[in-house]
């Protein structure tokens, strides 16, 4: 099977190549801004380099990806927002099936069989896709390959991509110290905190444990107490720390789906009926305003 891999984030390409190597021979598509990293690529047989299009040019990438994908049985993309924006358009233009956020895949009698999370994280769907097909791969599920470096470099030219829109302004977002998805200890805060100033209780705990503070959707989206990058959940960041402390968050499904890969989950909430307790290893039914300062104090002792 001929597999094409592309990601805007070259550090994710390793995982995608690894996923692709399981089902076929991999070619990695590199854009003008990515080609100088060619020597670091492992596991892909071939690199397809496009000198005229940069990875931040979404509007032009649609045409490039559609063209190059045509000659491949499978397109493997990452699961970030840019990739999702492209994936549906490329899939419809080539009339191909798609499966998003797959956690495993294998080929079976000319078909691709994938597993992916669905129903807000309550179920895994086993899906069968006829080839040619497109998948996006869930972050962190495949280990980047060791393997040899690229053996063949092919250049690709694209005659006049369609200008669908213009980016007139681009602002970098503020970055968190350690990204949430890489943190070993995460403190997730929810609506149980009554005021923004009270979040300092969580920051103190994070400091004591060497962790990072994240939050539920309402704190980032509605109250704007924390940056969007701190928002944990199916439409935010998915995390997989060794220890997650969920404080004052009820555990709505869309949040719970984002914390599933955590090793140990501790919930602190004063409502014994909160769904988060169903989804935790240890639950403390107590007022966070009483428990948190005591916990920090005890840890500092």
């Amino acid at each position: 099977m001929r597999v094409l891999v592309f990601s805007h984030y070259l550090d994710l390409a390793g995982e995608l190549i690894s996923a692709g190597m399981g089902v076929g021979e991999v070619s990695l598509l590199l854009t003008s801004d990515q080609k100088d990293k060619l020597a670091q690529v492992r596991g892909a047989r071939r690199a397809i380099v496009c000198d005229s299009i940069s990875s931040d040019d979404q509007a032009a990438l649609i045409d490039l990806l559609t063209e190059v994908t045509r000659d491949h049985d499978l397109l493997v993309l990452s699961s970030d927002k840019r990739a999702r924006e492209l994936a549906g358009q490329v899939a419809q233009m080539l009339e191909r099936p798609i499966a998003t956020e797959v956690s495993s895949m294998r080929s079976e009698e000319g078909k691709l069989v994938v597993e992916r999370m669905t129903l807000g994280g309550k179920a895994i769907a086993v899906e069968e896709l006829p080839l040619p097909a497109i998948v996006t791969v869930q972050k962190g599920k495949f280990k980047p390959p060791e393997g040899p470096s690229v053996q063949e470099v092919v250049e690709v030219k694209l005659g006049g991509a369609t200008r669908r829109y213009e980016v007139v302004e681009r602002r970098a977002k503020p970055k968190l110290g350690i990204p949430l998805d890489k943190a070993e200890v995460v403190i997730a805060v929810g609506r149980g905190f009554r005021r923004k100033e009270d979040l300092k209780l969580a920051y103190e705990l994070a400091e004591t444990l060497g962790g990072v503070v994240g939050c539920t959707r309402p704190l980032a989206a509605d109250l704007k107490w924390m940056p969007e990058e701190s928002w944990i959940g199916i439409s935010g960041v998915r995390i997989s720390p060794k220890l997650l402390l969920v404080i004052g968050a009820s555990g709505q499904q869309q949040f719970s789906a984002g914390i599933m890969d955590s090793k140990v989950i501790v919930a602190i909430n004063n409502d014994p009926q909160a769904p988060i307790f169903e989804n935790s290893d240890y639950g403390v039914v107590r007022d966070l305003y009483e428990f948190l300062p005591a916990l920090v104090e005890r840890l500092r002792r």
């Binding site: 970030d80 927002k81 999702r84 924006e85 492209l86 994936a87 549906g88 358009q89 899939a91 419809q92 233009m93 191909r96 099936p97 798609i98 669905t118 129903l119 807000g120 994280g121 309550k122 179920a123 895994i124 769907a125 086993v126 899906e127 069968e128 896709l129 669908r164 829109y165 213009e166 980016v167 007139v168 681009r170 602002r171 970098a172 977002k173 970055k175 989206a221 969007e228 990058e229 199916i234 439409s235 220890l243 709505q252 869309q254 599933m260 014994p272 307790f277 989804n279 935790s280 290893d281 240890y282 639950g283 403390v284 107590r286 009483e290 428990f291 005591a294 916990l295 005890r298 840890l299």
Partner: protein
């Protein structure tokens, strides 16, 4: 401006019962509802209409069966959207086995049949959250597509869309017609009053059977997720529960603490 809002009647995953021991997932028993993000999309359509005039129509494709109960749930969702200020609603009766390929063919056909210049959708549905459908519809219509909008400005034939990516915020300028998907940050949807809901009951909901497009993706199996949590509740007074928690964390090798 003539706006179509794509609304999925999603399975209410919060109320979906899953029996981990038997592996049974009670799909038919769970209620369906319009996704929260699509309600944001509807609110944005109403706001655009209030600024520049025009008409806004909800297009809903039902894909959790067409039983009397499912149709009733779908019509209730649409009535609520009409009460928020949408003018009309179209309910397309799809089948449960539809994939995003077939669904976007059906939806694009309906959009083509109207005189829409703008299609608004949510960034992802509540039950599946693959976020693929709006892009597919755009490609099918051969319209430009911008995802993850947090603000939309309309002036004449031009749109200025602010959108939020993981690492950047971008402002994009494009011409109509276009497909835009929104995130929940874009607005705070209005809550319709009882009076609005009663009035909305008189607005039209057109129900249609849809053409058949065979799906490409086949769902072989739905499995319950095997993430077993210990679900231990730590009880006792403050000091006792602190000690118990720290003991657990220590035994898991997660913290070092002097006793």
């Amino acid at each position: 401006m003539d706006i179509a809002v794509l609304v999925k009647q999603s399975l209410d995953v919060q109320q979906l019962v899953v029996d981990r021991s038997s592996g049974k997932i009670y799909l038919d028993e769970a209620p369906t509802k319009a996704g929260d993000i699509e309600i944001n999309a509807a609110e944005e359509a109403v706001r655009i209409k209030e600024r520049v005039g025009g008409k806004a129509t909800a297009i809903m494709l039902s894909c959790w069966g067409t039983s009397g109960r499912r149709i009733k749930e779908a019509r209730e969702s649409l009535t609520r959207l009409l009460a928020m200020g949408l003018d009309e609603a179209i309910l397309l009766l799809g089948s449960q086995g539809m994939d995003s390929y077939a669904a976007s063919k059906v939806i694009a056909e309906e959009v083509r049949a109207g005189s829409y210049q703008l299609v608004l959708a949510g960034e992802g549905s509540e039950d599946n959250f693959s976020g693929i459908l709006p892009g597919r519809v755009a490609a099918e219509l051969e319209w430009p597509y911008v995802a993850y909008a947090t603000a939309i400005e309309v002036s004449g034939n031009e749109l200025k869309v602010t959108r939020s990516l993981e690492d950047y915020d971008e402002v994009i300028s494009l011409r109509l017609p276009a497909v835009i998907s929104v995130t929940q940050e874009i607005n705070q949807p209005r809550i319709p009053t009882v009076l609005h809901i009663m009035k909305a009951a008189k607005k039209p909901i057109v129900q249609k059977e849809v053409g058949s497009f065979s799906p490409k993706v086949k769902v072989r199996e739905l499995k319950t997720l095997k993430v077993e949590r210990r679900r231990e509740i730590i009880e006792g007074d403050l000091d006792e529960s602190l000690e118990k928690l720290l003991k657990f964390l220590k035994s898991e090798g997660l913290i070092e603490v002097r006793s």
